[in-house]
């Protein structure tokens, strides 16, 4: 019978995000009605914008790529008991590193891409390692350090672009063709979207996260430290080392998320005056995806699609694109209140007997 409960538990873990997404959409429809918009037209436009045409699908996948990686960064840290709120900052330093290597190095095609992505991973990993080290050594809470390092990253990257990479008009130099992830092939089959090879990188990264956590001794140790530090110490694991390692790996995922923007979508980096939001969306993505690699891919596709379809909904149905932000927020709200869904579902299943 315990086996049954365990199975139900897993089912619940899948059901809560799905139900939350549906409830979020429903609530969005109600808000449309309250705002005197036609929800049927609105949602039709929204779905068209998400996957109504090859181009829409391409844009949805493109928008999902960095989200997947920042979601993986949050999810990886979370599975090992850490809150990485610094994905945004790690993403920015990764973005800059990828653009820098993409611009300054002369390497043959595929190799240049790989080196640029690795540079992003190292930069992001280093940026994640700092809070990890401070936590392990001085017990400083990682949430505070990562939040502050986001600002440091924002201004340091802006300053570095202006000093060394400035091409004018608040932009850095463009990366060389050899370092680019963009693909005329992918663009053509999606009828002119900006889809690039970043999605392949993101999926490989998701597989790596799953493999590390579920298949390796390192993952066993990382998760063990996340679940129960005392028992891990008792078992002879080095808790400090694992905290640093986990934050570094998490930061590396975030750094690669930055490379998606630098090598894929934009081919350069803008002098940013505010955050991109992709790093913070990673928290939402990981939450909806239950910190599971596959779940994070699915939730990224949903959020990526919603974001890219927002202008279409505005254009076709005249619904303000801010509504998408409300829907996303509501989905997160429902996931976070998964407990309520659980109680309601249990009530139903009892009465069904």
């Amino acid at each position: 019978m315990m086996q049954n409960i365990w199975k139900n538990e897993r089912l619940f873990n899948v059901l809560v995000p799905v139900i939350s997404a549906v409830l979020g959409m429903l609530a969005g429809a109600i808000i449309m009605v309250l705002g005197n918009y036609d929800p049927v037209v609105g949602f039709e436009a929204l779905f068209n914008g998400m996957f109504g045409s090859p181009k829409a699908i391409g844009e949805t996948i493109r928008a999902a790529s960095p989200l997947i990686l920042s979601g993986l960064a949050v999810g990886f840290a979370f599975k090992t008991g850490l809150f990485n709120i610094g994905v945004e900052g790690q993403l920015l330093v990764g973005w800059l590193a990828s653009v820098w290597v993409g611009y300054a190095f002369d390497l043959p095609g595929v190799l240049h891409v790989i080196v640029s992505i690795l540079a992003a991973a190292i930069a992001g990993g280093f940026w994640g390692m700092i809070p990890g080290y401070l936590k392990a050594k001085f017990k400083v809470h990682e949430v505070i350090v990562t939040i502050m390092l986001n600002y440091v990253a924002l201004y340091v990257t802006a300053d570095l672009i202006k000093r060394y990479l400035y091409a004018g008009n608040e932009k850095s130099y463009r990366i060389k063709e050899t370092a680019s992830l963009s693909s005329s092939f992918l663009s053509e089959i999606t009828e002119g979207s900006r889809l690039h090879w970043g999605i392949a990188v993101a999926i490989i990264a998701a597989i790596i996260m799953w493999f590390i956590l579920e298949k390796t001794a390192m993952g066993y140790e990382l998760k063990s430290v996340g679940y129960n530090q005392h028992a891990s110490m008792y078992a002879g694991m080095n808790v400090s080392k694992n905290v640093v390692l986990s934050m570094t790996i998490s930061g590396a995922f975030a750094g690669i998320a930055g490379a998606m923007e630098g090598l894929g979508t934009f081919q350069n980096m803008t002098v940013l005056s505010s955050f991109t939001g992709t790093g913070f969306d990673g928290i939402a993505v990981a939450l909806l995806g239950a910190n599971n690699a596959f779940g994070i891919i699915l939730s990224s596709l949903l959020f990526g699609g919603l974001n890219t379809a927002a202008p279409q909904m505005n254009f076709d149905a005249n619904v303000p694109s801010e509504l998408i932000k409300i829907i996303i927020s509501l989905i997160i709200f429902f996931v976070a209140s998964g407990y309520i869904i659980r109680v309601i579902a249990e009530r139903f299943s009892k009465e069904g007997k």
Partner: protein, 509 residues
Amino acid sequence: MQDYVIEMNNIRKEFPGIVANDNITLQVKKGEIHALLGENGAGKSTLMNVLFGLYQPEKGEIKVKGKQVKITDPNVANRLGIGMVHQHFMLVHNFTVTENIILGSEPTKGGKINIEGAAQKVAELSQRYGLSVDPHAKIEDISVGMQQRVEILKTLYRGAEILIFDEPTAVLTPQEIHELIQIMHKLVDEGKSIILITHKLKEIMEVCDRCTVIRKGVGIGTVNVAETNPDQLAALMVGREVHFKVEKKEATPKDVVLEIDQLVVHDARDIPSVNGLNLQVKAGEILGIAGVDGNGQTELIEGITGLRKVKSGSIKINGKDITNLPARKITETGIGHIPQDRHKHGLVLDYSIGANMVLQTYYQKPFSNSGILNYNRIYEKAKALIAEYDVRTPSEYTPARALSGGNQQKAIIAREVDRSPDILIAAQPTRGLDVGAIEFIHSRLIEERDKGKAVLLISFELEEVMNVSDRIAVIYEGRIVAIVNPKETTEQELGLLMAGGKREREGVK
């Protein structure tokens, strides 16, 4: 039939796939202390939760003072005069005693909470039942025994006539247990009735009038305590004969395995907790450490196993110095450690029971090949251990959290003993377990001894130390103050030594 305050007749409570209570009848007379006896997982808590309104029974009736009632939630139970003293106290630590007691039903006077009035009432109740609780003391400043009295006061304040005590002695020192027993007698004298949930036979013999036994969810019957004995109760509870006296051959100690010399270990506040301790444990013997909690036992174990830095002194295993080595190195040298707190140190509760079986060996072959785990081998191993040590679990994939305390402990013992360490450190290995599990664990420790391993047993239960050990070392204020032969000593002598008394047969001073 009017003389019963509580009647629970033919109660049946099902959970999906399991019958937790089947046809249990519990009848409590006014003014008696009634024991509810059963092994862990026998269904005692379920039955009490039915009485307290947390669960609804599928079948059966409940009568309070002869009137049939339907207890739909704890508030109804409270109104009927049923109060529960939980095993895990439900107190707000930075509130005062009075604030905790009135929490949820604060008396008001002109819109303000009438703390003074409440404190006075609490003081009166405390006086009347001999609880000597200070209504204005903060919870975090008072002892565990006092906190329990606050829980008792809480139920009395709400007008409880029937008090349910859920394993009340599990967290108490012997002195506090003694005082609690007096309090229970006082409560009964004042006309209250008590249901005592326990699996400690000694307590039942000492305080209870009657005893209802449950085994595997089924009511076995009710006996008058005066007409029974511990052996009979144990047999009723477990369903077979239980050996209290541990059967064991004479020990044949050989070479010294663990040698501790002038050890100093500081506690979390950086105060020397182990203070110049010397100790030797030989192969083929069980050395028991007797002592009152807080005399350096925890720090001694943590020092040996590498969980806490040693300030000075040395620890050797088979002549090899392991002082201040990393925990993993020490484990690999040949120490097995059954930790005091199995939830905090012994298990990763969110991992499956199988994954827990390799907590110290996951990185070694055959479980790991160049860093890639071979889960097939891990679960094979776990399956074999589960079978060998009779760990009751639906499967090796079940999370450790879902197992009962006794089975969690069996799993830890399986893991530690299977690594075949030269020395096995067992800290409170039977805490909170029922007689069946205790018997199993004791016989396993003795088996290890007979295989020629050294065993270091640390326990706060004198009976356990005296029954299982071949030699007893008494620890007091971080030092071993005496080593005695369990056959030549008495509980009184040990008690005196544990309290810091000198061992003086001649009676000098």
